[in-house]
């Protein structure tokens, strides 16, 4: 299925969860937060399959402010 991850279109395995997405993209799973379709996707739901064509944002702390 297709997802948009941080603005880029990505082809991922059907039924991909947030946890699995991070693994497939080689991203760390600590110190990050995920939004799906403009809402917080809490860690407690990271093993659920993401909706097809979802707009996913993966964010982390950087220098700022």
């Amino acid at each position: 299925m297709e997802l948009t991850v941080n603005g880029d279109d990505r082809q991922v395995l059907d039924g991909t969860s947030a946890q699995s997405l991070l693994e497939q993209l080689g991203l760390p799973d600590k110190g990050v937060a995920i939004a799906v379709n403009g809402a917080v996707h809490p860690r407690s739901r990271w093993d659920e399959a993401l909706p097809a064509c979802a707009d996913v944002e993966v964010l982390t702390a950087v220098q700022g402010g």
């Binding site: 937060a33 995920i34 917080v40 993966v58 950087v62 220098q63 700022g64 402010g65």
Partner: protein, 260 residues
């Protein structure tokens, strides 16, 4: 009236020995940042939330935590209340803190706060359980509104972010201090140590600055200067300055002078 100089800064029931809050933005690299953070003596420092792919040279959170400093996520760059609220909620997920430096800016040229959206976002975040520290204009009425909706502090700008223009309206800052039921933290516009000292002399409870240190030619030296300036300003505030006068008043005895 200022509290006693040695008293800790207390925000939402949490005490900080240092009254200098730093930002981590603008540092050339983590080594410079680490040296500046140590020199500043800060116990609270801001970080931003960005897409992971853009987190080049990451590891800022590890550096902060190694130094025993509490990270304060911000909503820097957010242009509306909805974006700021979502960013705050994501920061809570990523960093496991419900403290947020709330920034809702009106445009990217001035980076000045959007007052209406700021109050709206603050109210929503307070209701959602956040400890909200809003970056605000130097407007005494707006500061009162923010305290009214439950913000844990108010953080008026001395001048626009990154300008180094210092405190453009000291009188407004004094008015905010005189009326605020929550700590007042001078945030943004600090250029050099005298600006930070002035903020404390005006009665602010703390100073938040980033660029003045991270973009200085010698960040660690400037961080030391800022630490001393905040302490000096706080001491001076508590010590009670002399009144300003139009005409000179001699400090030496006027009697017993040589007669020729």
């Amino acid at each position: 009236m200022a509290d006693r100089p040695g008293e800790p800064l207390v925000i939402a029931g949490r005490a900080f020995g240092s009254r200098l809050i730093t930002g981590t933005g603008g540092s050339a690299n983590l080594e410079h940042l680490r040296a500046a953070l140590v020199a500043s003596g800060t116990e609270l420092t801001t970080v931003s939330l960005r897409r992971t792919s853009l987190a080049e040279g990451g590891g800022v959170l590890e550096t902060i935590r190694e130094l025993g400093i509490m990270p304060l996520p911000n909503t820097a760059g957010c242009l509306g209340a909805a974006e700021a609220v979502l960013t705050a909620q994501l920061a809570r997920e990523a960093l496991h803190t419900d403290w947020i430096k709330l920034e809702v800016i009106g445009d990217e040229k001035t980076l000045l706060p959007d007052a209406v959206a700021l109050v709206e976002a603050a109210e929503e975040l307070v209701a959602d359980g956040f400890t909200v520290l809003p970056y605000t204009n130097d407007d005494p009425i707006l500061a009162r509104r923010l305290a009214d909706v439950g913000c844990a502090a108010v953080m008026p700008a001395g001048s626009p972010i990154g300008t180094g223009l210092g405190i453009l309206n000291p009188h407004n800052i004094e008015l905010i201090v005189a009326q605020s039921p929550v700590p007042v933290i001078l945030d943004a516009g600090i250029g050099t140590a005298s600006d930070a000292a002035l903020a404390m002399e005006l009665g602010c409870d703390a100073v938040l600055l980033a660029s003045a240190v991270t973009r200085a030619a010698d960040p660690a030296a400037m961080a030391t200067a800022m630490r001393l300036a905040v302490e000096a300003g706080r001491l001076a505030r508590g010590a009670g300055r002399i009144p300003r006068r139009r005409w000179a008043i001699a400090s030496s005895p006027t009697e017993g002078r040589l007669q020729i």
